[in-house]
Symmetry: C2
Subunit: 431 residues, 2 copies
């Protein structure tokens, strides 16, 4: 019994020792892996590092209000609102920062004015009724403003403003119960918020700015390019697979999965468009750039991606068509796939460079011709009478490719609309 | 000349008059349309109205700190932090509110402790170096914390916490330069934030709570049901269309477009899952409910929706198959479509009621049998030798339906996993 207890103690000590021995190693491992991830994050997009330094700089500059007497004397403790504003308003892109800054500024103004008005109204009613009038108005206005936040048109652009409106209104009107200097208070709060917002927006714009509009523009072009790359790879790999039945299928599959990011691109796109609308003209983007056109391009890109997802099934599907049938339709299918791929890649370049060629795209015409020739070829046989099952996957691939051609035309149309709306330059390439 | 001027004046007056005459009407119209939209918003989800009143109530309760002397004496002006916390933390669902409240509480604690520590360190160095030490530490810590916000694992759950950490740290450490009562300040801020967070969370949970987990659960079930409804309608309308070539095609199309919400469901799903993880056990959902399983179900549901989107092309596509060929494959296609529809609808019911039947689903078996019979039927002809073009759309529909059957099996598997992980009740229905 005693020896058993001893043994147990020994075991306990042993595990404690191994834990302690592992402890520094564990911490070192954790630190190393965090450092590795931080390095990767910075490498993937070095603007993240710059952004972090910009935030640090903005906060440090605004906190100077505390260190210098001649700055501090103006605002006193309220200077903290400037610091708070910087921390809360500074976002990654210029558009998001301006949006938040403008929302915060206007909401503070409106909330402050309404707060002062309610305070005046309440103080007229006498000390006894004052708290009731204040409480009731706070209840009613915050309830109404909270409900207004559900309106979808307002939610997208002014949600933060409505929040700050409720906040400022409550602070000013309720504080007025204890301190009659409400106008002074509202004024100080407004000016500190304005100083904080301005400092933030200026630093955000003038030190290595990150434009949401540019990100959106490149995001749209990249998505279209990704689909083009898929179609190119697919053309090679589908016919290769059906010819060789190679076992590298799975490896090939990995390189084909790139398009999947396009399927769920709507969220990113929506927020980028929302931010881009706040931005002033910059770089290649003029005032009133047709940002809404990117919604249309995004929609048709995703529609094409859904069809590509269906097509992708046939690369991994077990029911592969045997060799002889795909070969018959290989040529037009190959052509459709390649020409669509070329069209999409060129569209991506058109968007990226904001330059369109004066000659209308020949690739899309070739794709349409290939689709027509495929149809006529299928009408005029000859085809084996039975064994339709083996034909189905090939027929489906052909049919989906025909659908993809029409999707590509849709994308091309929406890109041309963007090109004419935002007046892309035209360059004349000799045919 | 004079008469022309007079005429112009008259025209100006006339347009001004018509503007003034239209003015009240315009306002009335605007008010009416806003009221109509508000009514619709409230009708669509009455919890929005309740939520607005809850927010109003919480703010009013917390602002009592200002009205009663015995409450006000404890915190003074700092009571405003409690009001601010309520306004900022109160979200629509319980999970989101708890998440923000916990983030805010812990971040205030950590930021406050670090702020006090830096203040002590700075005050040791002497008045001259103090501002430099403070400024440098504010710069470094806010830069580092801003960079940490980019880590994807932290961004999802702790982004708000990191923001509040920067905020509190800067406020406490910088305020310490002017006011040596930093510990008192940090303590007051922490307790007011704690009071605000607790009041918010309590009101959010105990008055008509909106559980993100329940919303996620129903959202998942609804999405699956939507796909089931599409397949049922498709079965009727595709063969109806190809038989009758009716011109009501466009009308039919509208009722088929319901599935499109599923295509872009990822964003809503992700945020609901994130919120649901913060929630305590409630209703049918136990502690440690397998929320991550909903990611899998959502993924396979969307995969099925992409295939349905490809299928939907053939309802609106111009290249409709002629009557005789679809009739041959009509029976197995109809069966696949209907049985998949039944399976999906039953899966939705299983999720909604959290009860599974002990008998494994017969519908999915029927669908698989129909797929097999379609394959063998196609192998054994007889089929017209030429005119393959007309066969293609029908073959594609058949082929996509076969893919949809395998997608349905995937959804069914992930739902069964959820059922076993969260121990759904089993009910024995006689066969």
């Amino acid at each position: 019994m005693a020896s058993e207890q001893n043994q147990e103690k020994f075991r306990g000590l042993k595990s404690a020792w191994s834990f302690l021995k592992g402890f520094p190693g564990g911490i070192v491992n954790a630190v190393v892996s965090v450092a590795r991830e931080a390095k990767k994050l910075g490498k993937d997009d070095s603007r993240r590092i710059v952004h972090s330094f910009k935030v640090g700089l903005a906060i440090t500059i605004v906190s100077l209000f505390y260190y210098f007497d001649f700055l501090y004397d103006g605002f006193g403790v309220s200077a903290m609102w400037a610091v708070i504003t910087v921390v809360v308003v500074f976002e990654f892109s210029v558009g998001a920062t301006i949006g938040k800054g403008v929302n915060r500024g206007i909401a503070t103004l409106v909330g402050g004015v309404l707060g002062v008005a309610v305070h005046c109204l309440a103080s007229v009613t006498g000390k006894h009724a004052e708290s009731i009038v204040l409480g009731l108005s706070v209840f009613l206005i915050s309830t109404a403003a909270t409900f207004i936040r559900f309106f979808p048109q307002l939610k997208a652009r002014y949600d933060y403003g409505l929040l700050i409106f409720i906040l400022t209104f409550c602070l000013i009107s309720v504080s007025g119960y204890r301190d009659d200097e409400v106008i002074e208070m509202a004024h100080t709060r407004l000016s500190t918020v304005a100083i904080g917002s301005c400092a933030t927006v200026l630093i955000c714009i003038f030190i290595c700015p990150v434009w949401a509009g540019e990100d959106l523009h490149n995001f749209t072009a990249d998505n279209i390019e990704t689909l083009g790359i898929f179609l190119e790879d697919f053309q090679g790999k589908y016919f290769e697979t059906t010819n060789d039945k190679s076992e590298e299928n799975e490896e090939n599959q990995d390189s084909l999965d790139g398009y999947k990011v396009v399927l769920n691109s709507k969220g990113t796109e929506d927020s980028l468009i929302n931010f881009a609308k706040w931005e002033p003209r910059h770089g290649k983007f003029k005032y009133r750039h047709p940002w809404d056109q990117y919604v249309k391009i995004g929609k048709s890109t995703r529609e094409c991606a859904y069809k590509i997802d269906a097509l992708n099934c046939y690369v991994i599907s077990e029911m592969q068509a045997p060799v002889e049938i795909p070969r018959k339709i290989q040529e037009p299918c190959s052509t459709m796939s390649l020409e669509c791929s070329q069209t999409l890649k060129e569209l991506a370049t058109v968007i990226k460079k904001m330059t369109r060629s004066s000659i209308s795209d020949p690739h899309i015409k070739n794709a349409v011709i290939a689709a027509k020739s495929l149809k006529s070829m299928m009408q005029n046989g000859p085809w084996p009478e039975t064994d339709l099952l083996n034909l189905i996957p090939a027929a489906t691939v052909a049919s989906l490719l025909i659908e993809i051609v029409s999707s590509t035309i849709k994308i091309s149309d929406s890109v041309s609309q963007l090109a004419s709306l935002s007046k892309f330059k035209t360059c004349n390439i000799p045919p």
